[in-house]
Symmetry: C2
Subunit: 394 residues, 2 copies
């Protein structure tokens, strides 16, 4: 047989970055390239308790088919929690439980973006979402991320230049990969531009609960009187990514289309894990759990920045972060970044070259991304020491 | 905001059938319209045992991010099992774990079918899969299901008439909704035609293990020397649908594209449930469990057919089944089927009108589908008695 794939999939090229990741499987290589929660961050004992309880009390409901929208108590509790704690979501919205937040990107692109239409992204941005947009043959237009978020002049120009733009994709808190948090002023401006040009925002907020310093800023969705924002939340970073439970708060007409698309995608999200998340956020002290996570990651983030100061300055500079799991590091402009990352991995430390996160990964980029949540302190020190030595020799 | 949805989603019309299902939520209505496993069929005790064990032994691996392809031991065990027991899968294939078999339909359509290209389906066929194909703006072409499976002359004509056909979708065992099992001769013929015209087959086999009479027939995939068959298997009917764990055995080049599409869809399937399925099929007596399920459903299927004989003959006739969860019933040609089903639900029994399963649900159809796995025996008797009374008055 000769195989002929669809046009949308033919445009998906295997990433050049993957070659580098192959080396990361070598157990002697320190991986600073992942984005996994720390092994210390899982409430494993509580999950085991809850699981035993729900399987004993409701075995059939936990194992049977369920509804596409998601487990009703979980939807109700999340709606209340997000409204009360973050002023996020209104009577014009509804909430859909999804199989990870990646599925939100998939369903939104499917429901809203024709092939060839534009998704405006931050540059750099989360590679997983960019690849989902690409998988529907959407065209990506990047807007520069500054120290306080998207350049909003560039955003407006992109909206003017691309009347077929359908979505603006942003991670306002501790952005992956840049670590940048969007200022309140820019949050308001991005929202205002979205409404002005009639283009929906996807506000992706996986790290919002992981703030280590500074004040919480309101979600863009909290301004959303016009129904212009699709909010994406997730339990992956605060309970468990292996369970694949996330949620989107979206204007009702969009919610309804997302439900139809999800029905054809995976019918519903693993219901057992939905029960577990619901019990965990309602019957346990979820806020105390989040405090514990913040304590773990605050320590790791500070330690990582200290190591960068100690071993890598002045050749490698970095952007101080207030939260999240990533630190964005810069090298001098004359450095070939993919080459540097390749040398690094051959020297047993794996980081991700910044160009992987651009809308066109062939563009030049003088930064790389470090993740500090997954490695142990010992691994972090070993890895960053190697990076420092390599930088000295540049 | 004014919302403009993608072309592919605008073609997704809310089904007329949904109106009928709304009544099925009424607890006084006997639902014979679902497709859920019997509440007696879940190995809930074993699942609780396994879950406690894997969470105690491997909490991090069970809760952490995992690989898109699926849990490696589960992939290996399934590959061995399917090869040994069903001669299904070869060195030219690879196996991908998916979030239910619905996701296999989604990924295959995404990877293989451009908008406007054709998917050839059995008529009638499983509504969930049809809706997934539709959600990518594929054009559906139906081929009549006879007592021994697809009319293969019609299939060949459809292949000639539609040079842009990309997939042939079939459920060869105890088809949903018709209950029909495709003969060995037709399995070979369908395979031969697929190879001749260079069109891939999706062989969807959720019910294959649920045979109550007659001899097992080889899977179409067992003939697949040319790499023309994508096999879809699932744990939904034999362990638990709520866990959403299924698998596809596909030629390697297709497997690779499906992996890329799945990465952008939900990253990976709930890994906890993958561990549970793996332990259940390897550490427990899976064959004895399947025997137990067959015993449960054989009793229910026979009881359902007896009730149809007792209460519904001669106005309602039905097709004897050898397995699966559904019985296809015929009414006299002068009956308006959607109207009959609407009357039925107002009389407290819900069945699905056959036209819901056609490529165009506005076509006439004189059949309806009964599910016997979900209701209790008492509910089955009550429901079928009502149907018989309604039929008498036609």
């Amino acid at each position: 047989m000769e195989y002929k794939f669809s046009d949308r999939v033919q445009t998906l090229k295997p990433s050049a970055i993957r070659e580098i990741f192959k080396y990361a499987a070598d157990p002697t290589v320190v991986s600073l390239s992942a984005g996994n929660p720390s092994p210390d961050a899982f409430p494993a004992k509580e999950i085991a308790e809850i699981s035993a309880k729900v399987l004993a009390e409701n075995p059939i409901s936990v194992l049977q088919y369920s509804v596409t929208e998601g487990y009703t108590p979980l939807r109700r509790h999340l709606t209340e929690y997000m409204k009360k704690k973050h002023n996020t979501g209104s009577d014009n919205d509804d909430i859909l439980i999804t199989t990870g937040a990646q599925q939100i990107m998939d369903l939104c692109t499917k429901a809203l973006v024709n092939e060839g239409e534009v998704v405006i992204c931050e540059a750099p941005s989360f590679i997983g979402s960019l690849n989902t947009f690409r998988s529907y043959n959407a065209r990506l237009v990047g807007v520069t991320v500054e120290h306080d978020g998207m350049n909003t002049d560039e955003l407006e120009q992109a909206l003017i230049d691309n009347p077929n733009a359908k979505l603006i994709y942003t991670i306002p808190n501790f952005q992956n990969p840049s670590g940048v948090t969007m200022s309140l002023e820019k949050r308001r401006k991005v929202y205002e531009l979205a409404v002005k040009y009639g283009v929906l925002i996807i506000e992706d907020n996986p790290y919002g609960d992981l703030r280590y310093s500074g004040e919480n800023l309101p979600n863009i969705k909290s301004f959303d009187t016009e129904g212009a924002v699709i909010y994406a939340g997730s339990f992956s970073k605060v309970i468990s990514p292996g369970m694949r439970v996330a949620y989107t708060i979206a204007p009702k007409p969009i919610f309804q289309k997302l439900v139809v698309c999800k029905q054809g995608n995976d019918v519903h999200t693993n219901i057992w894990s939905q029960y577990v998340c619901d019990e965990f956020i309602t019957k346990y002290d979820f806020d105390a759990h989040l405090d514990r996570l913040r304590a773990i990651y605050t320590q790791k983030a500070r330690f990582c920045m200290e190591l960068l100061d100690k071993y890598c300055a002045p050749k490698i500079t970095y952007h101080k972060i207030d939260g999240g799991l990533f630190i964005w590091c810069d090298l001098p402009e004359y450095v070939d970044m993919p080459e540097f990352c390749k040398t690094a991995v051959l020297n047993k430390v794996c980081v991700v070259p910044g160009n992987a996160f651009l809308t066109d990964e062939k563009e030049t980029c003088h930064s790389f991304r470090i993740n500090f949540s997954t490695p142990t302190d010992e691994q972090l020190e070993r890895g960053i020491k190697i990076l420092g030595e390599l930088a000295k020799n540049l």
